[in-house]
């Protein structure tokens, strides 16, 4: 039977964004990665180009306070040692990039000083050669100083700094622009807010090739469907030609480890760790099927499982 495969072509395409700078480009990273570049829906290779596969950013948290018990044991004691943790991400688990979360700077928690955080950042930067993202602690005032310090200490590395929010982005944007870094633009599960955030950054002077969108990934069982749809709509908006939405999208799947469903021992629901690993991997899967270009992940086994799937999505057969 004659059957014409119904194909869709689009006016727009996702911008290519480079993370990390090698020696030639003025940094010290072993390699840089390129994300974005698609001119169609994710993995629709029968009708579109997807020059760069989604990448896995593994996160390192500078305080075990934010790492659930279930994970602490299963990942290893080094989780209390951010530098060791970062090395594992690079050497054993083959992350594509590293995210350092300087959460302990938070004045309402550990309130670690800017100097201490900065020196941890330098230490991590020295110990791994992966392209890096660095997030502050979420306190506007503290982050202003902290991210300025990080930006200076990482001059030339083409870091991506986060998170820029509608009400607090200027100091972060300034820090990122000062040394040629990029910025992660956060918004709250709403395509208009995502757009608004990008417009604010662009107006402030940030170049579009220096922006990545974080539309907030809700974990499996915690509103994943909202994120799934927002990411799909962002992608549609970008493809239909809206230049303000054509930045790559990053989704944080490590949030899966906070979901009550996986923290709860219940033999009816099977082995708790395996359930958690699938929980994170499926959360990340939802993100890339909807259109994410980067996923942030935490557990090495979830990363391995996810990678297998990614290979299979892009392989033949």
């Amino acid at each position: 039977m004659d059957f014409d495969v119904p194909k869709e072509r689009f006016a727009g395409k996702i911008r290519e964004v480079v993370i990390g700078a090698t020696k030639e480009k003025g940094g010290t990273r072993g390699s840089s990665i390129v994300v974005g570049g698609s001119d169609g829906f994710p993995f629709h290779r029968f009708e579109s180009q997807m020059p760069h596969m989604p990448v896995v950013v593994m996160d390192v948290v500078d305080t075990p306070r934010l790492v659930p018990e279930t994970l602490l044991g299963s990942m290893g004691s080094f989780v209390k040692e951010p530098v060791e943790w970062a090395k594992k991400c690079e050497n054993e688990w083959k992350a594509d990039a590293l995210l350092l979360r300087l959460a302990s700077a938070n004045p309402e928690e550990e309130n670690r000083s800017v100097e201490e955080c900065e020196s941890l950042f330098k230490e991590v930067l020295k110990s791994v050669s992966l392209p890096m993202l660095v997030y502050g602690c979420g306190s506007e005032e503290k982050d202003a100083k902290l991210m300025e310090a990080v930006s200076n200490a990482g001059k030339g590395e083409r870091l991506f700094l986060g998170l820029a929010e509608e009400k607090a982005f200027k100091s972060l944007a300034a820090a990122s622009m000062a040394n040629g870094h990029g910025i992660v633009a956060f918004s709250n599960l709403d395509i208009n807010l995502a757009k608004q955030m990008n417009i604010l950054l662009l107006d402030f002077g940030v170049k579009p090739e220096n922006i990545i969108i974080d539309p907030l990934m809700a974990a499996l069982g915690m509103g994943l469907e909202y994120s799934y749809s927002v990411v799909e709509r962002l992608r549609q908006g970008a493809l239909s030609g809206d230049p303000v939405l054509q930045m790559p999208i990053i989704c944080d799947s490590s949030c899966a480890w906070n979901v009550p469903d996986i923290l709860e021992e219940d033999p009816k629901k099977g082995d708790i760790l395996q359930r958690g690993i699938l929980w994170e991997a499926i959360t990340a899967y939802g993100a890339i099927v909807a259109g994410a270009d980067l996923v942030i992940m935490r557990h090495p086994d979830a990363v391995a499982l996810f990678r297998q799937t990614l290979n299979e999505l892009t392989g033949g057969g």
């Binding site: 039977m1 004659d2 059957f3 495969v5 119904p6 829906f41 993995f43 629709h44 290779r45 029968f46 499996l220 069982g221 915690m222 509103g223 994943l224 469907e225 799934y228 749809s229 799909e232 709509r233 549609q236 009550p260 469903d261 923290l263 009816k268 629901k269 099977g270 082995d271 708790i272 395996q274 359930r275 699938l278 929980w279 991997a281 499926i282 899967y285 939802g286 099927v289 499982l305 996810f306 297998q308 799937t309 299979e312 999505l313 892009t314 392989g315 033949g316 057969g317």
Partner: protein, 442 residues
């Protein structure tokens, strides 16, 4: 649906009024709006009727299988993206009992599958279906397996490519109205006959490309099988995503009838297959059958299904009001939360862990979580105070005290002012509630 004019052209144009409308055109307009049934006109020709039924049919046919009381419903989807409206019929998940495992194992597996169900955010989620497959085992075990399956009152899939054996198995579990898997180029005519004779839905598959698959489906339809399920060929996740997309798109955007049917994917039990099942749930698979569904996998998979198939306009929610957890009395504490199912059931489960009876006051926030509702102005001291009044909270609990979620500390002052109740700020996460409740109760 065709337009009123298109319909009008096919009507007898007698304007006799027997349809209770003055003219054929008036009737056509009502038909186009789906307000009346074509049967109201006694004079439509069978040809016109056939044309109208065909063009008015949904882009993806609804197929049902299983017991008439609780059948599996698949297909009848109208969207490519859930945000455009919603996905209607959640992927049916089934476990395969293969006759190479022997009859006892098959039975045990089917029992396990039937027993696999959970309650999550107020909904029951379960392994919906069992499939009985003939591979290397004995045909007798296969038939016995099919018989056994038919006693479980769950939708059944029969899997063999041998039409004779299929016919026998279908007869053995006829009340279960099984889905027959499958007709291929090799066994096509005979298998189609089995489906036609029994009236059971039939999977069509094994074709090398999409054109061939469409051709087979079309042939089956012309041979008199109307309930068809498509199985595109392909092994990798990438192929699966592409083919499922092409089928759905051809059906919905092009109204290409030969592919306007629900779909099936049969998977093994490897890690890759688990992730493929998740992909199937997201990308248009109506039925996913697997060799194994261990609980640590099936629970997240079903949660994914629940998420993807939630109506984007209506979050899953519970009724507002004053609920009792345990058997609370006048001395029991009152706790406040929202009517978003996820929130309500999370909080309720945590309260139950404490074993302390509690009054749980559930505010209508249109199904939004605590912070979302608070940020959107749907959880205000005023709305809480009004509910306290209308639910007569102060009569039920004489403590004159209300515990609010830790995330909305900011409403304490105003709430106290409006209600005169002491406002106690609880933990931010309800997982902290057992500890807190114990200290309150002490």
């Amino acid at each position: 649906m065709p337009t009123a004019m298109e319909i009008y052209k096919l009507l007898p144009r007698k304007n006799c009024g027997e349809c209770k409308f003055p003219t054929c055109l008036a009737f056509a307009m009502q038909l186009a709006n789906q307000k009346v049934a074509l049967e109201a006109c006694p004079y439509v020709t069978p040809e016109a009727k056939a044309i109208l039924e065909e063009s008015g049919a949904p882009p993806v046919k609804l197929v049902t299988f299983g017991w008439s009381g609780s059948p599996a419903k698949i297909g009848d989807e109208t969207q490519l993206f859930r945000h455009d409206k919603t996905f209607y019929h959640p992927t049916v998940l089934g476990v395969i009992a293969d006759d190479s495992e022997g009859l006892e194992k098959m039975k045990a597996k089917m029992q396990d599958a039937k027993a696999t169900y959970y309650e999550r955010v107020g909904q029951i989620i379960r392994v919906d279906s069992v499939a009985v497959r003939h591979s290397k085992g004995s045909p007798e075990d296969f038939i016995e397996g099919a018989k056994y399956a038919s006693t479980l009152i769950v939708p059944v899939v029969l899997m063999t490519e041998d039409p004779k054996l299929m016919s026998e198995a279908a007869g053995a579990c006829a009340q279960a109205r099984p889905l027959l898997y499958r007709a291929t180029q090799e066994n096509f005519d005979a298998m189609v006959q089995v489906a036609k004779a029994s009236g059971f839905p039939l999977v069509v598959g094994g074709a090398d490309d999409m054109g061939k698959l469409a051709e087979l489906a079309d042939k089956a339809k012309k041979a008199g099988v109307s309930d068809i399920v498509l199985e595109p060929k392909g092994s990798s996740a990438g192929r699966m995503l592409e083919q499922m997309t092409i089928i759905r798109r051809a059906a919905i955007k092009k109204k290409f009838r030969p592919l306007g049917y629900p779909t099936i994917a049969v998977l093994g039990s490897s890690k890759e297959d688990k992730m493929k099942a998740a992909l199937g749930v997201m990308k248009y698979c109506s039925v996913v059958l697997m060799d194994q569904m261990p609980p640590e996998f099936v629970y997240p998979l079903m949660t994914l299904r629940q998420n993807i198939f939630t109506d984007p306009q209506v979050p899953i929610q519970v009724k507002a009001g004053l609920y009792s957890v345990g058997e609370p009395g006048p001395k029991s504490p009152v706790l406040l939360t929202t009517n978003f199912s996820l929130t309500y059931f999370t909080v309720r489960a945590d309260i139950e862990k404490s074993k302390i009876p509690v009054w749980l006051l559930v505010v209508n926030t249109d199904g939004q979580s605590v912070m979302t509702a608070f940020a959107a102005g749907k959880l205000t001291p005023e709305s809480v105070a009004a509910l306290i009044e209308s639910e007569k909270v102060k009569e039920k609990s004489t403590r004159n005290e209300i515990v609010i979620p830790g995330m909305i500390t900011r409403m304490s002052g105003k709430l106290n002012e409006l209600t005169d109740m002491k406002v106690v700020v609880g933990p931010r996460e309800s997982s902290g509630l057992p500890k807190m409740l114990k200290s309150i109760a002490a």
